[in-house]
């Protein structure tokens, strides 16, 4: 778990360096796969609910691209450290 956490943190750093610290996640995905987000958006807005895109997907896609791997990486690291401590003391 800690290894995955460290990998995600490294990925976050890599994204921030490669695409710039303020590049939104949507922008990064668009650069890599130009057609993907449009298909995803059409699927979500037409088949599920337009508001789901606006309230859930859009905030995530407009956030800096490194943020999500950074948060996930941190989370996994903290969980991993806590587990290790529990094992030592248990």
């Amino acid at each position: 778990m800690m290894v995955v956490g460290v990998m995600l943190l490294a990925l976050a750093c890599g994204i921030a360096i490669w695409f710039g610290p303020w590049a939104p996640l949507g922008g990064v995905i668009f650069q890599l796969y130009p057609a993907f987000l449009n298909t995803l958006q059409a699927g979500v807005q037409r088949r599920i609910a337009p508001e789901l895109w606006d309230l859930v997907f859009l905030p995530a896609l407009t956030a800096p691209a490194w943020l999500i791997p950074f948060i996930l990486g941190d989370l996994l690291l903290v969980i991993g450290i806590l587990r290790r401590r529990r094992r030592r003391h248990g």
Partner: protein, 329 residues
């Protein structure tokens, strides 16, 4: 000596809730539960529900004047019934407002007056025209055109407007102009789609100068005799009835004559599916679906699609020397 140690769940009789109170509490909880369900439903409705009530024609007549009467041009016979008035103004593709079909309540928030369109590039007399002045200067006519969407649905719509060639006569294209680029306005206050900053805004479409000068190419300012609402591309859009609908740029802010072939919004996003020419052809399927037939909005009837959407007699000659181009995508 016997030691009695109370277990956690053991309570004295005095601590038990009296039966009538418990029953009352149960009914209270039932009521609270029902209330929560109703509230959840309301929240879901608010979150994900469709808000389609309202007037899709809504406008302030003080800002947006009625269209002057326009004679119907009978040269262009649609050969099928005109679609009912509500469907074309409530079933729209306009990505600046979202990628679902019912974007009209959002689109109606966009003010369409005052509105000017800039015509520039390779022209003798560039200018910025107020749309209402332009309408008075050129005059309006009504044309009933079939509209074929690349998504395999179709409508038949009475547009009010003027031939693009009449605007070109005013600005006088230079001999070097080969293409016309149509640029949609960017209004971040109402166009929520612009928040997706990674898309190649502004929305660009284009055609050749010959296509622009063709008699079918129509600048639209009205629909069903009323001012064109924003969800349909108001106050000013272009219509190429022989091409798939996405080629017809909406809510135009700028028209540029150029010698460079414009790269359109959709070409940038998915060039293999949405190309520059995009002429209707039932024998060339979209990569993900057939184009052999189309569903008529309103009746739901499925009818065969026609080459050039049935307008071959007016436009087929434009493409005789272009067989190496991807004319049908």
């Amino acid at each position: 000596m016997r030691i009695h140690r109370k277990r956690g769940w053991e309570l004295p009789e005095s601590a038990a809730t009296p039966e009538p109170v418990a029953l009352k509490r149960r009914s209270l909880m039932l009521a609270a539960g029902a209330g929560a369900m109703i509230s959840l439903e309301a929240q879901a409705q608010w979150l994900f529900g469709r808000r389609e009530s309202g007037d899709p024609w809504q406008r302030n007549p003080a800002d947006i004047p009625d269209l002057p009467p326009a004679m119907r041009n009978t040269r262009y016979q649609p050969g099928r019934a005109i679609t009912g008035e509500r469907e074309p103004v409530t079933y729209n593709n306009f990505y600046e407002f979202g990628s679902n079909k019912d974007i009209w309540p959002t689109a109606l928030r966009m003010p369409t007056r005052p509105w000017t369109v800039k015509v520039d590039g390779m022209v003798e007399q560039p200018g910025e025209f107020d749309v209402d002045d332009l309408m008075k200067r050129i005059g309006l006519e009504e044309r009933v055109y079939r509209l074929r969407c690349v998504e395999a649905w179709a409508m038949t719509v009475p547009w009010t407007g003027f031939q693009l060639s009449k605007l070109l006569e005013i600005v006088k294209p230079l001999g070097s102009a080969k293409y016309v680029r149509f640029e949609t306005a960017q209004r971040p206050d109402s166009m929520v789609g612009l928040r997706q900053s990674w898309y190649p805004w502004p929305h660009i479409e284009g055609c050749t100068i010959e296509e622009a000068a063709n008699e079918l190419t129509f600048m639209v300012m009205g629909i069903y005799g009323k001012p064109l609402p924003p969800q349909n591309g108001g106050p000013l859009r272009v219509a190429f009835p022989w091409k798939y609908g996405f080629k017809s740029g909406k809510s135009l802010a700028r028209i540029t004559l150029t010698d460079q072939r414009p790269k359109s919004f959709w070409e940038t996003l998915q060039g293999s599916e949405y190309g520059f020419w995009a002429n209707v052809n039932p024998e060339v399927p979209h990569p993900r679906w057939s184009q052999a037939s189309e569903r008529l909005i309103g009746s739901g009837e499925r009818v065969p699609t026609q080459l050039f959407n049935g307008y071959g007699e007016f436009v087929a000659s434009l493409y005789t020397n272009l067989q190496n181009e991807r004319l049908w995508a």
